[in-house]
């Protein structure tokens, strides 16, 4: 639906984004992760048609987006900028009405009223935007982003600076976008958020360091591991497991961490070997590395995974 093909953007001598390629489909939440200055916002601006690539191209439905048709792209894209960007002196309703008209909606009034109801901000509609809390401003900005019913939604750090409850609300709204079969691109520093909502993750540091589902990224970087908790000291069972064909075993107090190639085949075998040797097994779980581990390894190593 929306694709970046070898997208490169330079600002003078500085390379902001280099040779980035990916494709985003409907019903997908595509997360862009990366340190500050990694090129996330530049990538979003390129996708929104706000700036032109130095090389490569943005493709919308297979057609190249150029200066001449960028306005057509912008009509299909909803872009939530890093700052809510509301006109402070205008009321919430006036803010939304202006954008509804800017998008050329035939019936801006009813659309705005529906949006106020959908985002649960109707009771604050006649208040100046300046009086809203940060969370409410973000909600209004999200309502503004979706007024023209875009099928591509670009979100630049949508929960940045929000309290946990507001962030939770915004995350629910983002999941709602996916359920509405829109393509969502989310730039964020919040790894927990990505873990909760993203279907795919792109780790960016000027270049694309990795692109996959969160689960696949974990598996590629850390492999499959089992975490077995015993009642007693676990170190005594390492030789048994190694002899049984599981050479990658480490123990820490009463816990064993065992590398596996195929969890379906190896898990029963590991449990059998331990029980046969008299181990009292408390729990057996797949060992999950956090997305933070994945991210830090990718960013520190810097090489594409």
């Amino acid at each position: 639906m929306l694709a970046a093909a070898h997208l490169t953007r330079r600002f003078g001598q500085r390379v902001a984004v280099e040779d980035v390629t990916f494709e985003i489909e409907r019903g997908e939440i595509f997360a862009l992760l990366g340190p500050n200055g990694a090129g996330k916002t530049t990538t979003l601006r390129l996708l929104a048609g706000l700036i032109e690539p130095s090389a490569g191209e943005v493709l919308l439905g297979g057609h190249r987006v150029a200066q001449g048709n960028a306005a057509r792209l912008r009509a299909r894209v909803g872009f939530l900028t890093e700052s809510p960007g509301l006109w402070d002196r205008l009321t919430v309703r006036e803010n939304l009405l202006t954008y509804a008209r800017l998008h050329g909606l035939p019936l801006p009034g009813p659309v705005v009223e529906r949006s106020l109801a959908t985002f649960n901000i109707g009771d604050r509609a006649d208040e100046p935007a300046a009086l809203l809390s940060k969370g409410l401003k973000q909600r209004v900005a999200l309502a503004r982003t979706l007024l023209h019913n875009p099928d591509i939604v670009l979100l630049d750090e949508p929960t940045s600076g929000l309290d946990p409850e507001s962030a939770h609300d915004v995350r629910d709204l983002i999941l709602g976008l996916r359920d509405d079969n829109r393509a969502v691109v989310l730039s964020t520093h919040n790894l927990d958020e990505v873990d909760r909502v993203a279907t795919r993750v792109a780790v960016l540091r000027q270049r694309l360091l990795a692109l996959d589902t969160p689960r696949s990224l974990r598996e590629r970087l850390f492999g499959h591991r089992l975490r077995v908790v015993l009642t007693g000291h676990a170190g005594a069972f390492i030789p048994v497991l190694r002899a049984g064909g599981h050479p990658d075993v480490v123990a820490d107090d009463n816990t064993l961490s065992i590398g596996t190639r195929d969890a379906m085949r190896d898990t029963p075998d590991v449990v059998r070997l331990l029980v046969e040797q008299g181990a009292a097994v408390v729990s057996v779980l797949p060992e999950e590395h956090s997305l933070e581990d994945v991210y830090l390894r990718l960013v520190r190593e810097g090489a594409p995974a």
Binding site: F11, T42, R45, A48, L50, I51, E52, A71, R72, R74, A75, V77, F79, T81, S83, G85, L86, W87, D88, R89, L90, E94, T98, Y99, R101, L102, H103, G104, P128, A141, R144, T145
Partner: protein, 267 residues
Amino acid sequence: MNRIAALVSKEFADLRHNPGVFLPALLTAIITIVLPFFVALVVPAWTGEHLSNSGDLQVAMQMLRTQHVLDGLDPEAAVQAWIFQQFLPLLVLAPVAASMSVAAYTVIGEKQARTLEPLLATPITTFELLSAKVMGALVPAVGLTLACFAIYGLGILVLAHSGAARILVAPRSLGMVFVLGPLAALAALQLAVCVSSRVNDARSAQQIGALIILPLAGLLVGQLTGTVALTGGWIAVIAGALVVLNAGLMLVGIALFDRESILTRWK
């Protein structure tokens, strides 16, 4: 056009919520209305002298002979009419000069409030954006000028010598108020908006925008000293030049409005 209307309507809403920004324009307008009455009516009444007796104002009598709308006026009314007409350019330009601050702040204000990026993410074109920004300052400024003109006319009709108000329907007066004034205002405000999109400080935009006012202010001074006679022909020439200037300013404005730099370099 709908997008221009949408953004102009937003600009008006912004002014409605913050009418204080037009206070300088209003105060300037009031002063420019009062000033000619002070010169033409209060000072003579205070000193007990008739304006028509002043040798310095004989030049006025000569200039008035070219405007037939004043044929048959008594000398005192004619001199009053001359004074009221000489102050018309000031009346036309003062609200524009004062509303320059609104225009100068318009793009910079959006940059500073970080409202420009979401705006640029809509399908709005640069022409539409700049037009709306200029109209947002121009319409109130011209509206204020016309309101001032109406009050001015009413004041002359009520307070001045009989027949002096006829000067306001002279082609020269009408040309200044309805042609030169709006065109000069458009040029000044376009320049201010143009500069506003390139600089990071509203004061710079305001000062550069004011450059347009300077030649017109020079005309005013020239008229008052009798060096320049703003005839119908001159009004037509200046109006033509302003039309060309306005078209050029719009093209330059569009060329200078660099969306990318505004988004990526301005913090």
